[in-house]
């Protein structure tokens, strides 16, 4: 960015675009145009914590993130999976465009260790995104992670149960996710620097379109 301001007008624009927005850092495009349009900066906020509150597991809560993750990983940054509830399945990650040599899985023995590991990973600029599934997390913990994400400039994703929407949280972005017949309803519950309450229908092409291409020929070894 050109940091010179000759006229007052330029100065005010500079303050607006530069300093004021610096708190938001840059954003990682989500890969969904509709969603990007509703997020300040046009994507997932880097250097911040986002909370995803899916109504159930297996409704597309990872696919929503996949385009951004694969972009970050292709740019050379690592993706940390802190104590995932199931095993991230390597062939599926490759299909989603995620290079496996940028995927790290951290196993922990409890929430405290998970939070500690997530904080450490978020602080490390080598990571593009840190995903974690804490069973129980307080305001204070989220704030700690938020600070760590700011320090490392990475994207922190917390998967939380749908009931968490009732609680207050310092996360920069909070999304409620609900399944639909062929996609995902994303409701922006809270958005720092943006508008809350927006509800979007995102088609999750992940399965249906891809499945249509493939024929289910019997696979024989």
């Amino acid at each position: 960015m050109d940091a010179r301001a000759v006229t007052l007008e330029q100065l005010s624009r500079l303050c607006h675009d530069g300093e004021w927005r610096r708190g938001l850092r840059e954003a990682a495009p989500s890969g969904f145009a509709e969603l990007d349009a509703s997020l300040p900066g046009g994507g997932w906020p880097m250097g911040a914590v986002c909370e995803f509150m899916p109504a159930a597991m297996g409704i597309g809560e990872l696919s929503l993130l996949a385009p951004a993750l694969s972009q970050l990983a292709q740019a050379g940054r690592c993706i940390a999976w802190i104590a995932p509830p199931y095993l991230p399945y390597a062939p599926a990650l490759v299909q989603q465009g995620l290079p496996l040599n940028r995927v790290l899985i951290v196993q922990t023995r409890g929430v405290q260790e998970s939070l500690w590991a997530a904080e450490q990973a978020l602080r490390c600029p080598a990571f593009g995104a840190v995903l974690s599934w804490p069973a129980d997390i307080t305001d204070k913990n989220v704030r700690r992670l938020q600070l760590a994400a700011e320090a490392g400039g990475s994207l922190g994703i917390l998967y939380r149960p749908p009931e968490a929407a009732q609680e207050h949280s310092p996360a920069a972005l909070r999304l409620r996710l609900r399944p639909t017949q062929n996609g995902l309803t994303v409701e922006i519950h809270k958005c720092r620097g943006g508008r809350a309450g927006v509800r979007l229908q995102l088609p999750m092409s992940r399965i249906d379109a891809a499945l249509a291409v493939h024929s289910f020929a019997a696979t024989r070894a």
């Binding site: 597309g60 940054r77 790290l104 899985i105 289910f216 070894a221």
Partner: protein, 446 residues
């Protein structure tokens, strides 16, 4: 020209026990042992600045020949400042003196006033006004000299050599000649041991891990000095906490990339201490390193941002492993098998990260096991490690995909895979076992 730095460590025995006092009655041969061990460690530490090290355990004194290394470290003043700063960090009280000969440097550490003499002329000027008693000569000789009306070192040095040789033992003349550099002053050179072992004993038993941090820091700083001296790095070292009437607790500290930074070591040790339950109070601490590697060059960019992403990552890996366990961090790779539960495997992160450090290796092309996956239909992001037996799903969306494999290794499977939807709207990956006739859940389309 030779320039000797002499470090006098007046409180060494007490400080080597991490500052804990000992009853005066117990001050004994044991103190000498402690002192000697501490000097050994300090000699290894000092080797990073000089290749000629010597020490005298009785006093205790440590000599470093700095003449050869001055140019490398921006002159003697800068080098001396660096050495003294590290001594303060190590927590040893000390007196430093510089002189062209080791004998003179040792004498100057006892003097008050200016202690640095770079040339013979400066040395002479500094020695002359000093009182006679500072000479390291037996008491009868000092008495005899004083009885002859001599008071200052300068007056003794002016005596003709022949007169001294006639009156006293030859050692006296030799001492005086060495003092002013008239004859050579050889010292037994201390040799760097090929492996590193150091031990630090405490005066009292240490009960809390916070109280261990100070001696640990010192031990690791000395270790760092040794590593710098040998210009090598270490990938693994062992710490042992010795207990009274208990076998010692050993902790092995491993690094993903060889290093020699005491601060980094300390962070790792702290993380390990966090999860380590010591069975009894600690009496002594032992550090051992047997294998060394050539140093990893730390590359700094133009603006001095020395922490490269890969190095930061390696440090993070070390920290995670130190706290969460050796195999807590895993990477993934594809395996050549059609059975989903065998189509992947864990991999050491170092091996995974090494493959395409710039993230160049992208989808599928980064593994030899990709063959059986490249043409496979879409797979779910979540896999259950063990398939879970379920009731027959009501809503099948796609399928079947038939999989017959594994007849050669006894894990023969015959399965029809389906994509199904649950009542909650989750999409799941299920299969019908054609042999047993049961349904199983194996994955989630997240």
């Amino acid at each position: 020209m030779l320039l000797w730095l002499c470090i006098r460590l007046p409180q060494l025995a007490r400080e080597a026990r991490a500052g804990q006092p000992r009853p005066a009655a117990e001050r004994s041969e044991k103190d000498l042992l402690v002192q000697r061990a501490a000097l050994e460690r300090l000699a290894a530490w000092a080797y990073q600045w000089s290749s000629l090290i010597s020490y005298a355990p009785s006093e205790p004194l440590l000599w470093l020949e700095l003449g050869a290394s001055c140019a490398l470290f921006d002159g003697h003043a800068a080098l001396l400042a660096k050495i003294e700063a590290e001594l303060v960090q190590l927590g040893y009280s000390h007196v430093c003196a510089l002189a062209p000969s080791p004998t003179a440097a040792a004498l100057l550490t006892r003097a008050t006033g200016a202690r640095h003499a770079l040339t013979q002329a400066q040395l002479r000027a500094q020695l002359e006004p000093l009182p006679l008693q500072l000479l390291d000569l037996p008491a009868p000789i000092l008495t005899a000299l004083r009885a002859s009306g001599l008071r200052r070192i300068g007056e003794v040095l002016e005596l003709p050599a022949a007169a001294i040789a006639r009156r006293f033992e030859p050692e006296t003349l030799l001492y005086l000649q060495r003092l002013c550099g008239k004859v050579s002053d050889p010292r037994p050179a201390w040799c760097l041991p090929p492996t590193y072992r150091s031990r630090c004993e405490f005066g009292l038993e240490v009960r809390t891990s916070t109280a261990l941090l100070f001696p640990l820091r010192r031990l690791l700083l000395e270790f760092q000095g040794y590593l710098r001296a040998r210009d090598c790095s270490v990938q693994r070292f062992t710490l042992e906490f010795e207990h009274y009437r208990h076998p010692g607790s050993r902790v092995s500290i491993g690094l993903s990339a060889a290093g020699r930074d005491a601060a980094q070591f300390l962070t790792l040790v702290r993380e390990r201490l966090h999860s380590l339950a010591l069975p009894a109070p600690v009496r002594a601490l032992r550090l051992e390193a047997l294998e060394f590697t050539s140093p990893t060059i730390v590359q700094t960019d133009l603006f001095g941002n020395d922490a490269q992403p890969l190095q930061q990552l390696q440090r993070l890996l070390d920290r995670l492993r130190a706290r969460l366990g050796e195999d807590s961090v895993q990477a993934l790779e594809l395996a050549a098998d059609y059975r989903p539960e065998r189509g992947w495997r864990f991999l050491a992160p170092e091996r995974s990260l090494a493959g395409g450090a710039n993230g160049a290796g992208s989808s599928g092309a980064d593994s030899s096991g990709a063959g059986s996956h490249s043409d496979a239909p879409p797979r779910p992001c979540w896999l259950l490690l063990e398939p879970v037996r379920i009731e027959a799903p009501t809503q099948l969306l796609r399928g079947p995909e038939r999989l017959e494999s594994g007849w050669w290794d006894g894990e023969d499977v015959g399965r029809d895979y389906y994509l199904a939807r649950t009542g909650e709207g989750s999409q799941i990956w299920v299969f019908h076992d054609r042999r047993a006739g049961h349904w199983y859940l194996q994955g989630l389309w997240a």
